[in-house]
């Protein structure tokens, strides 16, 4: 291989030096909120935080499922006699005796309240089998052991049919969806073919494979269903969307919405697999209805691989053409993914990476989806962006090597100031600073670009980098606040804390927006009784619920102003409420003459009120079509590999993110770290394998599915750049739950190439592939 010139920090197109340190610190203090510790930390270190299936419900029975062992066909007979007669059994439900579920809500896109059904069918309502592992019977018994024993006695006979299990087998059923929700996923700009045929350009064409991955939060999904009569239902459900569960259950059982209550104050991790209503939720409610007792259903770890979604496998072919000085002339991103035959979930890899990331006169994105007889996939942390950035960012690394250009310089040369398809400017984009700060912190300038050139003793050392990106999503929410005369307040929204730090971030936003001390705020979430909160997905919660808190704080200040202007003892007596706003913590006053002001507590006391309560309305979010809103970042990582036993050890990661305002410094940093850790798993260890004959997963526990643990994870240096994105929302925050996992698998794969000279294009990068 020709000697590549030593990598120096580039001086690419449009490169701007970062701000001087003092100036950078001033900007960042407005951008990064105070480093508060988690408000729920104490509950979590004493075992007192109550997760869904931990609520104590008297006389609660247990549900246990029977699963299909064929992938496609019909149930011809079920013999449930022995199970029905087994000790403790209260009911055995099969398609032969289960009452029909009533209806499903009409589907709405985005963050609407309709709820999410990835598997678009009802359980135990017909004799069809669509995938192996499908629930074909439910046993309800007094104890979990009795339920499990009785389930083993249910005999199911099938008429199996030939299942479709691979892309090749499902070729004739393949579809090219036009849209994923509202987003176009087949993109064509400029003449890609001409550029790919142009002999004067440097080209790369490669195919990248990602396997099925499974979320595996440590809290498995679970539900307790409790009926009061036949019209009122309460569910303690591990969910990312209490309002969605409420709506779907209300439709499924024909109940009034307000008679269905969903409770979920803590979620033990979710990463996407608790966003939709899966079959066990409907079964718990149906089992409780039929058996006439409350029913608790734990989804077993085994069934978490089948009954709660997964990240679908992808095959992505990237074709790049660039001038010799590194300007992209064409990017073509063709992705092929699987979905199930009973859902429409798709993983839009190309649209969500190539469709937004780099400037190029010609871009084509194609997406093909193959429906197979495997359980239904779902969102898993950055669905589309995560595998999409893996493929694109590896291809860019291959192009940088072919061009003998530093990988950072190549990215700078193709930086997109404007959205490459919508052609509007990105709002508050500071990706160049992220590259610069990341490169500085990492020491990238010392990188010798020659593969296998860097060593630590006997170990090969590799340095790789990649860009991270995730869109800023906006949904709608409402909030309620009760202000008390002692200057404390309770704020409520039916939102969720999956471990993200939502309790803490919303307490901080409430404190700032209401003008009350942090310690005086109680923020409550996780109940469908509260005002609308959208699904905790798409990294939308901080911005969306933050906006609702901003609105309700305005309403509270207005309500206080209305009391003050009618009160002859108030300095604000007889003034116009429109001229009044919060002027200092705990005080409203005249906007243009802050000497005239009044304290919340005094206003309430003089009005003879102990408290004041206001609620905001849920309304569709305002759209700004003049700008594109997207978060950005850069990962730099180091791997060390023993050449004789090539196990990849990630030894150092620097991740610099640009996500608008960072509301809560500590919890935000933890979110990025968590994304990086999950990305290490994606790159090196995680894969759900299927039996090619039955389509059943063979990795169905945490011993076979390898999630990163302590020794796999190095110190991770997380930093933030940028400014609050107030064009996006009044909080200035674009969200950060997902961006951390984008790009990191590519940064690791690129570092592995740099260390070994071997390019592994199918994840995970296990030892066997490097030998």
């Amino acid at each position: 291989m020709a000697k590549i010139p030593s990598g120096k920090l580039p001086d690419g197109a449009g490169w701007q030096p970062a701000l001087p340190k003092a100036e950078r610190d001033t900007v960042m203090s407005a951008t990064i909120g105070p480093a508060r510790s988690r408000v729920d930390g104490r509950l979590k270190v004493t075992g007192a935080a109550k997760y869904s299936v931990e609520f104590e419900v008297p006389e609660c029975a247990y549900g246990w499922t029977v699963e299909s062992n064929i992938a496609k066909g019909k149930i011809t007979a079920i013999d449930a006699k022995a199970a029905q007669g087994a000790p403790g059994v209260l009911a055995v439900l099969t398609h032969l005796n289960t009452p029909k579920f009533k209806s499903a809500p009409k589907k709405e896109g985005g963050g609407g309240g309709s709820g999410i059904r990835n598997e678009e069918r009802f359980p135990l309502n017909d004799d069809e089998v669509h995938y192996a592992g499908q629930y074909v019977a439910l046993v309800v018994a007094k104890t979990i052991e009795q339920a499990r024993h009785a389930a083993s006695l249910v005999l199911v006979s099938y008429a199996p049919e030939e299942p479709l299990l691979t892309m090749e087998a499902a070729e004739h059923k393949a579809e090219k969806p036009k849209k994923n929700n509202d987003e176009h996923v087949q993109i064509k700009k400029g003449d890609v073919e001409a550029a790919l045929k142009d002999a004067s350009l440097v080209k790369i064409e490669q195919t990248y494979i990602t396997p099925t991955e499974t979320h595996n939060p440590i809290e498995m999904s679970g539900t307790i269903a409790v009926w009061e009569g036949d019209q009122k239902l309460t569910l303690y459900d591990a969910t990312q969307f209490v309002k969605g569960v409420q709506n779907i259950l209300a439709h499924a059982f024909g109940l009034e919405l307000e008679n269905v209550r969903i409770i979920c104050p803590f979620v033990g991790g979710a990463f996407g697999c608790k966003g939709a209503v899966w079959m066990h939720v409907l079964l718990a409610a149906m089992g409780a209805k039929v058996a006439g007792v409350p029913v608790k259903m734990h989804v077993t770890r085994r069934n978490m691989f089948v009954g709660a979604g997964h990240r679908t496998p992808t095959r992505q072919t990237l074709s790049l053409a660039a001038t010799r000085d590194g300007k992209l002339q064409a990017i073509q991103h063709v992705s092929e993914t699987l979905t199930s035959t009973v859902g429409q979930f798709t993983e839009s890899c190309g649209a969500r990476s190539t469709g937004v990331m780099y400037e190029s006169p010609a871009i084509r994105v194609e997406e093909t989806v193959f429906p197979v007889n495997v359980s239904t996939p779902t969102f898993m942390r950055a669905p589309g962006e995560c595998p999409g950035t893996y493929a694109l960012e590896c291809a860019l690394d291959e192009l940088a090597i072919a061009l003998k250009i530093d990988p950072v310089a190549l990215r700078l040369a193709n930086h997109a100031d404007n959205h490459p398809i919508k052609n509007v400017p990105f709002s508050a984009k500071h990706l160049k600073e992220a590259y610069q700060l990341g490169a500085e912190k990492f020491g990238w300038a010392k990188r010798n670009p020659e593969p296998r050139s860097m060593r630590d003793g006997d170990l090969l050392v590799g340095w790789g980098m990649a860009t991270a990106t995730y869109p800023a999503h906006k949904m709608s929410a409402a909030a309620k606040v009760q202000l008390r005369a002692n200057n404390t307040a309770t704020v409520q929204c039916a939102t969720h804390d999956l471990g993200t730090g939502a309790y803490t971030a919303f307490t901080q936003i409430s404190s700032e927006q209401l003008g009350l001390p942090f310690e005086n705020i109680t923020f409550e979430l996780g109940k469908s009784d509260f005002p609308f909160g959208p699904v905790a997905g798409g990294s939308n919660s901080t911005g969306t619920v933050g906006t609702a808190i901003h609105e309700v704080a305005g309403l509270l200040h207005k309500a206080l102003a209305e009391l003050a202007v009618k009160d002859s003892k108030s300095p604000l007596f007889n003034l116009k409420t429109d001229d009044i706003a919060m002027v200092a913590p705990g005080r409203i006053g005249l906007k243009n003459d802050t000497t005239k002001s009044d304290a919340y507590a005094d206003i309430l006391k003089r009005a003879g009120k102990d408290s004041l309560e206001v609620q905001s309305e849920q309304k569709p979010p305002e759209e700004n079509k003049k700008l594109a809103f997207q978060s950005w970042g850069a990962h730099f990582c180091e791997v060390k590999i023993d050449p004789l036993l090539p196990r990849v050890q990630v030894t150092r990661v620097v991740s610099v993110m640009n996500c608008g305002r960072i509301v809560s410094a500590k919890t935000a940093r933890s979110q990025i770290m968590g994304g990086v850790v999950m990305g290490i798993g994606m790159a090196l260890t995680e894969e759900t394998s299927y039996d090619p004959g039955t389509g059943l997963p063979v990795t169905r526990n945490l011993a076979d599915y390898h999630v990163p643990t302590n020794a796999d994870v190095p110190e991770i240096d997380v930093a933030f750049v940028g400014e609050p994105d107030f064009a996006f929302n009044p909080i200035g925050a674009r969200g950060m739950g997902e961006i951390g996992i984008t790009g990191i698998a590519a940064a690791i794969a690129n570092a592995v190439y740099h260390a070994t000279g071997k390019r592994i294009r199918d994840l995970p990068i296990t030892q066997d592939k490097l030998i």
Binding site: S37, R38, D40, G41, R42, L43, K44, V45, T46, G47, A48, A49, K50, Y51, E54, E56, T143, I144, E145, H215, N216, P217, I218, E219, M220, F266, V267, G268, G269, A270, F271, T300, R301, L498, G499, T500, G501, K666, T667, S670, Q671, M673, G674, G675, V676, V677, M678, N701, L702, A703, V707, P708, T709, N710, A711, D712, V713, P714, E715, I716
Partner: protein, 157 residues
């Protein structure tokens, strides 16, 4: 079903359960001590960890028939006010995210610090890598263990 006597958090308890019921379900469902979590059932995730004579053991791997006449400490028994040095260190480093694996992690750390009062990174990695946190709290967990070790040494002085 059998009557089984055991000690949990220094309190003698008698439960009437199936002989095969794992200790984790006795704790969670019979004694309502839900701080002990169920994460895998095959002894690989560590979220069901409890202490026995200061040593970390996995409650999903101990059937009722073997748990009898033994004494265990759960996260609730460590302290309810987060005053134990491991809990304090965990709070000071803001380790938890979703929190689900954390009681098991804290008790595993207690076991580690009993055997290695001043653990090296390698000792931390060796012991802690048998437990799984999907949120990825590992770097803060390592810091918290070093901090807890210092707090415990101070306490002994």
């Amino acid at each position: 079903m059998s009557e089984i006597g055991l000690t949990v958090n220094a309190r003698k308890r008698v439960v009437n359960v199936d002989d095969d019921m794992p200790l984790v379900w006795i704790l969670r469902d019979t004694l309502a001590l839900t701080g002990t979590k169920f994460g895998c059932g095959v002894g690989v995730c560590g979220s069901c960890t409890v202490l026995e004579n200061g040593k970390a053991v996995r409650s999903c791997q101990i059937p009722a028939s073997e748990a009898k006449e033994r004494a265990f400490v759960t996260i609730e028994g460590l302290s309810l006010d987060a005053s134990h040095p491991c809990q304090r260190a965990w709070l000071e480093e803001d380790v938890a995210q979703c929190g689900f694996c954390q009681p098991g992690m804290i008790l595993t750390a207690c076991g580690l610090l009993r055997d290695h009062p001043n653990p090296t990174d390698e000792e931390i990695n060796t012991v802690m890598s048998d437990s799984v946190c999907r949120c990825g709290t590992y770097p803060r967990m390592r810091k918290a263990i070093r901090r807890a070790a210092a707090l415990l040494r101070e306490q002994k002085r």
